[in-house]
Structures are given as C-alpha cells and as structure tokens.
Subunit: 547 residues, 2 copies
C-alpha cells in the first residue's frame, strides 16, 4: 500500500517546523524542498549554526529526483553544501536564488559536480511521479516561489515564505488568480508559512518604506547609512531609488553587500538607470550630504560594518557626528539585546539613528493572519498543515485554518520529523523519523552533543580550576607544592589568599586521603572549599603524577 | 559657590540611565532615590545581577539625609542590602514598598539596624535642604510615588516609573491637578521615565486586561494558570476578580507569589471579599473547572513554576491537557528567546496558551510618548532630563520634550555618572563620576571584571584542554606519557584519535624545544594542531612538573 501514498516530512532546526527542509516522498521517489540552516539559540554555546538531520535520507539518496530551493535566504539555502555532499540530484531554483546558491557551492568545491536548472514562476518541472509548478510569491528577497505539486494522490501546495503584498518593490504581486485556479482544481493539502500567524491584520506593504526613506533623505544633512540584510535586494532598490531622488550617490560596504548587489544588477533584479551606485572609495571622497552607504549589521553581528562603526573600530571610515543611521530590519528573535546595544552605541557616537517604531523603515516579509486566512480561502485545501514556524505560531495558524473552514480533524500541527501520510481522501500522522538538527561547530558537523554543551554552560558560568599534584608513589604524599591553574572563576591576581588557602586544603586532603582515589578526594575538597568561600561552582580537576 | 548649586547624578546598570539609583546633592547633603539592581546582559557570563557603583558615595555616607524608594520593583529595591551595608540614613517608602524592602533587609540581617519611615502620597518630608513631596503614580505595582523636591535652587520633579492610566486597577489614577499645580509653582527641572518614549500614542489602560481575562475564564474548560511577576499585585487583583466572577477558587503557587499576596492582603492592597483565595493543596483537590492558579515564570526563569511545568518536572502538580495557561507579562528585553521556548513547550504538553498579541493579557506599566508629552505640558519644566531608559529611549524622549516646548539647549541626555549642576536659572553638564555598575556573582561583589568575563566567553565557545607533563630536570625530556584533560571542546570519548595525535605533537614539541619555555612551546603546538583539525580555539594549558 505504501506505493499509493504520499509521505511528507518536515525537517528543520530549533522547532521551526519544515523551515529548513521538507521531503515529499511517493514510492521510491523523493523531492527535497529547501536546504537551509538555522542560527543557534543562546544556550548552544559556541555552535556556529545548525542544519537539518539528514539521517532519514542517507540511505535513500538515489530516490531523490530533485532539490528545489524556494528562495535565497540562509534558512532555505545555508545547508546546501551539507545536503549536496553526497547527493547528485538536480537543483531547481530561480535565477537569483541560483546565483546565491552557486556562490555557496563554489566555495564548498561542489559546483562542478552538480546540475542546477534555472526555473521561472509559471513553469512546470516533472520529477518522477511529481509535476511541480512554480508560482511567484512576494517576500523580502526577489523571485521567491511557492510550489503546486501534482502528486498521484492529489494537488499539494507549499507556499514557501510569502506575504500578500499588493504593492511590492518589484511591482510583481502574487497572482491571486493563479491561486484561485489551484483552489478550483482542488487542493488536497496546503503547507503554509506560519511565521506571523500570531499577528493580527495584514503585514504592511514594502511600499510604506519608500515614504519613511524619503523622510530620512529629506532631513539628513550628513551621510545616510542604511543597515539591512545583504539578501534584501528589494531594500537595496528602495534605498537606491531614494538616493536617486535626493541626488545622492550610493555605495555598498562589505563583501556580502557588494557581491549580492552585483549579482542582482547582473541578473536584472536591481536597476540603476540614474547611475547612482559608486564604489566606497568614490563615496568617501564626496561631500557628506551627497552620499548614502548600505551595509550589513542590522542584527548586531559583532564583525559587521555597523557593529564596527558602533564600536569605533571600522577600518575604512568612521562614524561622524551628523551621520544618519537607518536600521532597516527587525531583530531576529534572540538578537533583540545586541541590536538595542548597537543602537545605543550609535547614539553615543553622535549619530541620528532611525529604526522601527520611530519610522517604518522595515516591514516583515511574512504574511500576517488576515493574509494567511485569505490564502486558505482561495486554495480551499482539504487538509491543512501549518509549517515555517515555532509550535506557538503553528497553533495560531491552525486556529485560523479552522476558522477559514478547514475541518478541525483535517488540520495537523506536527513537529519536525513527523511523517504525514496522504491518500486521495485521508491524512494520517504517522511515525517519527530523526527530524531534529545537527550542530555545526568549526570543522565539526554533528560531533558536538548535549554533554559538551553542558560542560560549556558550566564553564561559561563558573570557569575551572586545575590542580597539578606530584606524589611519591610509595608514601602517596606530596613531593611538591600543588600548582593551580584557573580561568573564568575569579580574578586570579586578586585572589592570592583564596588560592593559598585552597593549596592548604589540598595538602590536608592528600594527607588525610584514606587510600582512595586521590584525585577525586582532592577535587571534592576543593569544590566544597570554593563553594563555601565564593558561592560559585567552578569545574575542579586534579591531575596526579606519581614519581 | 558649590553650596549654592544642586548636583544631580544618575546611577544604574546596563545603560538604563538613573534607573537603579539617583543622588540629589546640595552642599553636604545628599538624598538617594532608589536602590535597585539590574539583571545581566547575555554576555555577562555567570553574573547573578549588577548593582550601581557606590564608589562616589562611599566617603560621603554621612552627607546622606535619606534614602527614598519610589516603588517595590527589583530594579528600584534589589540593591538595598548593598546600598545600606554601611549607610544608616532613614529609608522612606509607602507601606507596600516598605513591606517588600523589609523582607530583603531581614534576609540580609540589616532590618534591626535601620530606620524605615512609611510615607503616603501627598505627604511631605524634610531632608536637610530638601523638602520632598510624594505624589501618587500609576504603575504596575501598587502605591508607587514620584517626587516633587523643593530645593534651594527651585522645584525639581522626579516621576519615578509611571503611566497616565485613566482606569487603573486600584481606581487611583495620577492626580493631574496636582501635577498642574507643580507646573504653576514653576518646575526648574523634570527627570522623567523614558522607557516607552519610542512607542507612539498612549499605553493601554490596565482595564483592557479585565476583558481579556473574562474571555479566557469564559472559554476555559479545565484549570486556568496565570503566570506573571510576583510584584504585580494589581494583576493578582484582576485575576482574583475574574475568578470570583466565574466562580473559581484561586491559589498562589510558589514562595514569592504566596508571600507577596499575603503582604498585599495584610496591608489592604489586595482585596478578597468573596473569599476566592485558597491554598494550593485545596485547589489541587477541586474539580479542574473550578480552579485558577497564579505563579511566576512569565520570563522563562528556569527554576520558576511555569518553566518546571513546561519541562514536566514540577513537584506538586503537572500540566494537564485542557489546562489554559495565560502568560500575563511581556518578555523583558533579552528574555524573548527563552519565553518563546517556554510557550512552545507548554503547547507541546497540550495546554492552550494565551499571550499578547493573541489576547491583551498584559500591558506595559510605563507611559508612551503621548502621555510623556502630556506630563511635560502639565509641568512646563525649564530644564528636562530624560531618565529611566537606554540612550535610544532618552533621545526619543528628548525629542518629545523639545516638541513640547522645552528649549533645545535646556534638554540634557546624559549617561550614568554624569553630574548635572543646577542653579536657579542654569543647568550645566559637569564632570563624570564612577556611575557604572558592579557585578555580583555568588558571594562576590565587584570581584569579577572584564578579564574573567573574557575567559568565560572563550570557555563557553571552545572549552579547554590541559596537558600534564612530567619531565626530567636534567635532560628536559618527558618521563611519562602526557595526560590530557578537556571539557567543552569536543566529545572526548569520540575523539580518541584527535587526542592520540595531539599527544604525539606534545612529544615532538618537547623533543624539539630549543631550551625555551617548555609549557608555552607545548601550548602553542597544541593550539595550532587543534585549530587545524577542528577550526576551534580551546584554551590550552600545559602544566610541567620536573623530577
């Protein structure tokens, strides 16, 4: 019976269900949608990023008919080198997404080994038992697509990331007629972006940013610096338009900003008819009232240009009094504190800083609840699965779907790795497969687990103390004065007395050791002593050498 | 001339200017306002909390005429045991604030040594050259006060924390007539709460929460669990009222919740005419549809009842399917991620979870920009100093003050420790004194500095490796096989090869050591080796014992 069923599996990181990858499986055929990464939570000490757990797919790589990337954001592309490590199925993406993917694959020395096919919204691709039709979505990157997948059990729609922006920057709103047509064909199941399901109403159009930028450029006396995501090409276009209107030149600062805008210009996603774009070098020699700069750092990333300007350690130029800095992004959850700190430091250096809510210089790229309901109403799916969101967002989205007429039993809120099985008239929540995430830390993929993170947590909070002992192998008594090394526990130079007393405890502990494990005995005595004195619990280790 | 000038100094933590403490100084007379703590930023590893730097006041303790605490929140009271450690000036506070302070001072064994005087809004207290009049403010704790201080150079108003709520829970709105009267008397300087200066419009009244709670209680089939701050006594009253209306009993869960509601009941701030309050034991034996519970944990604090329920490791009772959980608070900046995770886990355990923006079950306790402007218009201060906020909020507040008619040159945005000097017709920004903050970590106050935090940061990200070497003092060659201890770097059990190879590097490094520092030489070799293999940078130490 398995052969007559569609299996759909969401993968992803940090509980954002299906955000980074999804698998559509029918018999021995799999289509993978997206290959993204997630940034780690605050307590995932030292982890660089996390990627979907590929374990389920590892012995099914020859079933994979294609890998579809819906758009070029990191959480949909950032794991491509890991996903394609041993996989040689063709990749499908629109031109800009392809360009961004190629940069990543080139760097990972995988580009030559892979086939990538450029697709356009409106096109269809046959992948084994699946006919995949790409439809355009409005999102905060150009040329994003959603998927209408005709499967042997029925039509399945996957929205990708979307908002129903009536006036997007590229003048290409989502085709509601096309969506209605899918609805008339009959949608078996809808998988839809839940990011803003908790938000009432509609997400404002990108167009309102034009007004805010116009106000900023009108008032600014000195330079205008705009910080945003390097992938937000439509924002680059908006800033470019504002600069053109106000007779300023615009320079991109930083590698990712320069490279992405070059790519977008080359592919025609970014348009500069008035030749506004100049190099940074040129911009820095022009009068300040004639210049605008764009850079990354809207998330307070420590190595970004904006952070370096806030810290006062940027190489090519410094922030100057009179500069206007626009933070054209919202903090990603978890980044609020560091973004706020960056803004404070910019003020401290005398800049005017403009950010939402002071002016609407950013809006979300995801649909809010009213748009989500509208989409459900257009598609009239029999079954509904909220994806792209944490559990709380999925629950809010599930509620909307029920209000929009999907039968309550036909709505499934599931977590990553849960297999959903569809026939032409049923949806069943089936087994769980490994659908969590894998830590990437430096060169290591998956070698860091909870034990190491627990140790890092302890070290972050209390530091460590190591005592090195040299004992006589016959008498088991100390031959030298115990030497201690400590970091992250107390300021060692101010703690001479503490460590002298600790050394005495070690001497006593060795003397009184009842022929047991000398190292453990010393560690226990020191742990107790340090806690009594400092109410802190550093990791304590004793290294015993016998001579 | 110093004797004819008023000096005002804001103190505080984390850039929230004047939030935790302010000093008003005239000649050899000081009034301290508030004695609060701040919770550490995410990168202040292991720090429990931070307190104002008292260095400036240490040799002026006999100048202090009084310590005024405006209200009972931690960021205004939490450092009281540190501030009063060597200070014996009388403390002034309203009854509920006094009750909360007494709990802290008793615990610190300071209560017997101190004088506390209960004050009421409307009363005046003379403190040397200062006449301090207390006026009532609406805030998210009962009986908060602001201060109108008549000084030899003029009338100075300090708002404390406030909002202009027309319908507060205690039915006691701020007395706008009184504020207007101050304005008529002539206000030299206004120090005003800037927390929500970035927010447009007015902060909603606490009254809208009644409607949201009514909806929750109407729909709930099982128990209703409300998580909030233990100090939010007015919220306790609102939940109590909703429980009474819907014929449920209400139990407080957890020490702080039980103690604070007892105190508020005793002092008359919390009213229970229908005998709604029962013990947790009683509540747990009642039918679920007849019970509501209140607890802490709205900030995702790991040891709180709500977190334990989310984790499934609470002692007295578990979360059950059908429970409705209301998170009646907004995440404090920096807590967003852990609060979101807690909510996700509550959903995972089958609870209905209600939080803002799904329903308005919480509103801010601070005035938004329109209210702030209204206050400035009523008081018509000659000089304006935004306090209680980060720099970006102070700048937004400063802009409002200028729009409200304060002369631009008469508005001062300053940081903690900046001395402002007032005469009857001037305000001067004067010298900086130590006005930052001091870390409290376990039993240590101020013994942790940037060096220790940098080490903790490195350890959190990479862990450490220690190698213990025994060398012959003559030949300087190894006597034993090098022993390594590592934590937080790699999972040691899976890294046998890495450490075997590392040991070989150590052997080689010792052999090739050109009579230099053996430990440094080995550390350098290991650091390079580990980075090449793992792209990680653990702290590496070599301990050398010579025999």
């Amino acid at each position: 019976m398995t052969g007559k069923r569609l299996r759909v599996i969401p993968f992803g990181g940090l509980g954002e269900v299906g955000k980074n990858m999804m698998a559509f499986e029918y018999g021995r055929n799999i289509v993978i949608v997206d290959a993204g990464l997630m940034f780690p939570a605050a307590d995932m000490w030292g982890i660089d990023y996390i990627i979907p757990d590929m374990n389920y797919l590892e012995d099914k790589l020859d079933w994979v008919r294609g890998v579809i990337i819906t758009h070029g954001h990191e959480d949909h592309t950032g794991a491509i080198k890991h996903v394609m490590k041993d996989l040689r199925a063709p990749i499908y993406a629109t031109a800009i997404t392809r360009g961004l993917l190629e940069n990543k694959l080139r760097e990972a020395r995988l580009l030559d080994k892979l086939t990538i096919q450029t697709v356009q919204a409106g096109e269809k691709v046959n992948l084994g038992p699946f006919d995949v039709e790409f439809f355009h979505t409005s999102h905060s990157i150009p040329d994003a697509v959603g998927l209408a997948i005709t499967t042997p059990v029925g039509l399945v729609v996957h929205t990708g990331d979307f908002k129903l922006d009536p006036t997007p920057v590229d003048g290409w709103p989502m085709d509601l007629g096309k969506l209605a047509e899918f609805g008339e064909r009959g949608v078996l199941a809808l998988f839809s972006d839940s990011t803003n399901a908790e938000q009432p109403g509609r997400t404002p159009s990108e167009a309102i940013i034009d007004g805010a930028l116009d106000e900023v450029f009108t008032k600014a006396q000195g330079r205008v610096l705009v910080a945003t995501f390097a992938s937000l090409i439509s924002r680059t276009q908006q800033v470019l338009n504002a600069a053109a209107k106000h007779k300023r030149k615009l320079a991109m600062v930083g590698t990712s900003m320069v490279e992405n805008s070059k790519l977008a210009l080359k592919l025609g996603y970014l348009k500069d008819p008035a030749n506004v774009l100049v190099s940074l070098e040129t911009a820095l020699e022009m009068p300040q009232g004639k210049v605008a700069l764009m850079m990354t750092g809207s998330q307070g990333e420590p190595s970004s240009i904006l952070s370096r300007l806030a810290q006062g350690n940027n190489r090519q130029f410094d922030l100057e009094a009179g500069d206007t800095v626009v933070v054209s992004a919202h903090p990603i959850p978890g980044n609020e504190e560091v973004v706020a700190r960056t803004v404070n430091k910019l003020f401290q250096r005398g800049a005017h800083v403009i950010y939402d809510p002071l002016l609407p210089v950013h809006v979300s790229g995801h649909a809010s609840s009213e748009e989500q309901s509208q989409l459900i109403a257009l598609l009239k799916p029999k079954f509904f699965v909220p994806v792209h969101g944490e559990l709380r967002m999925l629950h809010a989205h599930a509620k909307l779907a029920k209000q929009a007429g999907v039968l309550p039993d036909n709505v499934a809120v599931v977590e990553n790795g849960t297999v959903l099985v569809f026939t032409a008239d049923s949806m069943t929540i089936s087994e769980r497969v490994p659908g969590g995430y894998v830590y990437v830390d430096g060169a290591g993929v998956g070698d860091i687990g909870p034990e190491v993170l627990r140790d890092r947590d302890r070290l972050a909070n209390y530091g460590f103390v190591i005592v090195s002992l040299l004992v006589d192998s016959d008498t088991r008594q100390l031959v030298n004065k115990p030497e201690m090394i400590s970091r992250g526990f107390v300021y060692v130079r101010d703690a001479t007395e503490l460590f002298n007393n600790a050394a005495e405890r070690v001497v006593k502990a060795v003397r009184s050791n009842p022929n047991g494990n000398l190292a453990r005995h010393v560690e226990s005595a020191l742990t107790d002593y340090f806690y009594a004195e400092t109410k802190r619990r550093p990791m304590v280790f004793a290294v015993v050498n016998e001579v």
